[in-house]
C-alpha cells in the first residue's frame, strides 16, 4: 500500500506505455511541450469538464471526478463517471474517458481507463466490470471490458511507473516512427541524444579545419 504522499498521476500510465523516456521527461524533468495533438486534447477536455452534473432517472453523471488508489499509488480525475442504477437499486460506476483522434491499437487508453476503474473499485468498494472510451474523431463510444488481462497489464504498469519515477534517471531514447507524432521530439532529440562521440566528432569537424 502506498501513502497519499506517494501517489502519482494516473495519466502518467499512458505516457509510460507510450514511451518511458517521454514519461520521464514529463514527470521527472517536468518538461511540457504542447503540439497540435495535445492542444486539441486539452480543448476537448476543457469542454467536457465545464459541463455540470446532470441526472436522468436511472443514470447519474459525475463530471471531472477525483479518483485515487492507495493500492496502485495513483490519483487523478475521470472525465465522466456514469452511475448506472441496478435492479436492486444500487449504483454501478461506469467511467468514460474522452480522447481526441481515433481508437489506438495499443493498450494505452484502455489502461488509463482501467486504472480509473480500479480507483473506483477501491473508493466505492464495488466491482466495475466495464467502461467506455469516447473518441472525438469517431464521435462515438468504444466499450472497454476490464478483464483479468487488462487489470494485470494496468497493475504491472503502475508498478513500473513507481520504479521509474522514484529514481532520477531518464531512459535513453530509442528512435521509432511514432516519435514523429510525439510532442516531445524537439526536447527529447531521439535521433541525436544517446549516440556516442557525436559531439566530439562535431567539434573536430567544426574547429580543426
Amino acid at each position: 500500500m502506498y501513502t497519499e504522499d506517494d501517489l502519482l498521476m494516473l495519466s502518467a500510465l499512458q505516457h509510460l506505455l507510450f514511451c518511458p523516456r517521454q514519461c520521464a521527461l514529463i514527470h521527472l524533468e517536468q518538461a511540457w511541450t504542447e503540439n497540435r495533438f495535445t492542444a486539441e486534447g486539452r480543448v476537448l477536455h476543457e469542454r467536457v469538464h465545464t459541463a455540470a452534473t446532470d441526472s436522468r432517472c436511472t443514470v447519474r453523471v459525475e463530471y471531472d471526478m477525483p479518483l485515487r488508489s492507495l493500492r496502485l499509488g495513483l490519483s487523478g480525475r475521470a472525465d465522466i463517471v456514469e452511475m448506472h442504477q441496478q435492479e436492486d437499486s444500487s449504483w454501478l460506476p461506469f467511467p468514460v474517458e474522452y480522447k481526441r483522434g481515433r481508437p489506438k491499437k495499443d493498450d494505452t487508453d484502455r489502461v488509463q481507463l482501467c486504472a480509473q476503474a480500479l480507483c473506483l473499485e477501491e473508493m466505492l468498494d464495488c466491482t466495475v466490470p466495464e467502461g467506455a472510451l469516447y473518441y472525438g474523431q469517431k464521435n462515438r463510444r468504444t466499450p472497454v471490458q476490464f478483464d483479468d488481462r487488462l487489470r494485470r497489464v494496468t497493475e504491472e504498469a503502475a508498478g513500473r511507473l513507481h520504479e521509474l519515477l522514484s529514481g532520477t534517471v531518464t531512459p535513453a531514447p530509442e528512435y521509432s516512427r511514432r516519435c514523429e507524432s510525439c510532442s516531445f521530439i524537439d526536447t527529447c532529440l531521439p535521433r541525436t541524444a544517446g549516440k556516442k562521440n557525436q559531439v566530439r566528432n562535431y567539434m573536430t569537424r567544426m574547429t580543426q579545419s
Binding site: E29, T168, D186, G194, N197, M203, M206
Partner: protein, 342 residues
C-alpha cells in the same frame, strides 16, 4: 515544436501596456496604438518609462511570457516571470557539475571553442565578401591566429588556461575589428572595447546588442529549467548571470556581425548618436528602433543548425543550445556542442 515568436520591444516613453482580452494593448497618451495577440509573443521588453498593468503581468506569467524592464539605454533592471519551469534534478546536476573544476573547464572549453570559431568565421567571411575593401592580409592573419588558438584548446586544459586563450582570442579579434568597418570610417571606428560607458559609436552598438542577446539567452536557459546564475567559465558572483554569460560567448559574434552590417549598409549614421560630456555615447530613439528591428528580423532568418542539421529560425538557436546543454548535463550527449557557423 517550440515556435520562434516575436518579442515586443516598447521604447516609446510614457507608453502603457494593458491586457485586452487575449491581446496586449499599447496605449500612448491614452490612445491604443497597437494591439498584439498574446499567442504571437514570447516576451515583452520595456525600455525606460513604460508601464504595465498588474493584470497584464499576471496574465503574462500564466502564459509563460517574460516581461523585462530595462533602462532607456538598455541596462537590465527587473523582470516578471511565471512559475519557475523545469526540474530540480536538472538544476542540482548543474550545481554539482559547476562545483567540479575539471568539468567546468570542459564546459568553458566548449563555450570558448564556439566563440573563437565564430569570430574566425566572421573574419573569414568578411575577407571573402569585401576582401578588396579592407586590409585582408591583417584580417587573414588574425583568422589564422584564431585557428592556432582553437588547436590549443585541446582536452584537459584547466580553467585558467581556457581563460587565457579567451583573452588572447578577444585581443586578436578586436585588434582587427576596425578593419571590418568599411563605410563612414570617420564616424564609425573601433580601437578597443569600452563598456561603462561605451566611448564610441561602435562600442555603443555592441553593448546594446549584447544586452539583447543576453536577454534571449537567459530566457532560453530559464525555459529549459537551467539556472542562468550558475556558470562554469563565469564563476558565481552575486547579481551576475554566470551561465547566461557562458552561453553568450558563442553568440557574441552574431551581435558583432549585425553591428557591422548596420554600419556597412549605412543604416545608421553619426547623427543617430549623442555624445555626452564625459565622452559616453548613446543612441537616439530612432537608432534604437532601427537596431531592435534589425535584431528582430535577424532572428527570423532560417538557418541550418550545424549540430542538429535541422533548419530553424535563428531566434530558436538560443533555446536549442540551452536544450542541448540540459541534455548533456542529463547524460544524453557526450558533450556540449556550441553553435558554430561556417
Amino acid at each position: 515544436m517550440k515556435k520562434h515568436l516575436n518579442t515586443l520591444f516598447v521604447t516609446t516613453q510614457g507608453a502603457y501596456l494593458a491586457k485586452e482580452g487575449e491581446t496586449v494593448a499599447v496605449r500612448i497618451e491614452g490612445k491604443v496604438r497597437l494591439r498584439l495577440p498574446v499567442h504571437t509573443l514570447d516576451g515583452i521588453v520595456c525600455f525606460g518609462n513604460v508601464g504595465c498593468s498588474p493584470f497584464l503581468l499576471g496574465f503574462c506569467g500564466e502564459r509563460n511570457l517574460t516581461v523585462s524592464f530595462l533602462t532607456e539605454y538598455g541596462r537590465f533592471l527587473a523582470r516578471v516571470q511565471g512559475p519557475v519551469s523545469g526540474n530540480v534534478i536538472l538544476r542540482r546536476e548543474q550545481y554539482r557539475r559547476a562545483d567540479d573544476l575539471d568539468f567546468s573547464a570542459r564546459m568553458a572549453r566548449a563555450f570558448i571553442n564556439g566563440k573563437v570559431a565564430n569570430c574566425r568565421a566572421l573574419l573569414n567571411r568578411t575577407v571573402r565578401d569585401h576582401g578588396d575593401r579592407l586590409d585582408s592580409e591583417a584580417v587573414g592573419d588574425a583568422a589564422n591566429h584564431l585557428t592556432g588558438l582553437l588547436k590549443s584548446l585541446g582536452r584537459g586544459r584547466p580553467l585558467e588556461e581556457v581563460r587565457g586563450t579567451e583573452g588572447d582570442g578577444a585581443h586578436v579579434y578586436f585588434s582587427v575589428f576596425d578593419h571590418l568597418i568599411i563605410r563612414n570610417k570617420e564616424d564609425f571606428f573601433f580601437h578597443r572595447r569600452s563598456r561603462r560607458p561605451p566611448l564610441d559609436r561602435v562600442n555603443c552598438l555592441l553593448s546594446f546588442l549584447y544586452t539583447l542577446v543576453m536577454h534571449d539567452v537567459r530566457s532560453a536557459l530559464e525555459c529549459t529549467g537551467l539556472d542562468p546564475a550558475v556558470g562554469f567559465l563565469h564563476r558565481d558572483r552575486p547579481g551576475r548571470s554566470g551561465l547566461a554569460l557562458d552561453m553568450m560567448e558563442e553568440f557574441r559574434p552574431l551581435a558583432d556581425r549585425l553591428t557591422l552590417s548596420l554600419i556597412n549598409r549605412g543604416q545608421l549614421q553619426a547623427k543617430d548618436f549623442v555624445v555626452s560630456e564625459g565622452g559616453g555615447v548613446r543612441m537616439k530613439d530612432k537608432a534604437r528602433k532601427t537596431l531592435l528591428t534589425a535584431y528582430q528580423e535577424r532572428k527570423q532568418d532560417v538557418l541550418l543548425h550545424p549540430f542538429l542539421e535541422e533548419k530553424m529560425p535563428l531566434g530558436l538557436f538560443f533555446h536549442t543550445q540551452a536544450l542541448l546543454l540540459a541534455r548533456f548535463l542529463r547524460g544524453d550527449l557526450d558533450g556540449y556542442p556550441p553553435m558554430i557557423w561556417r
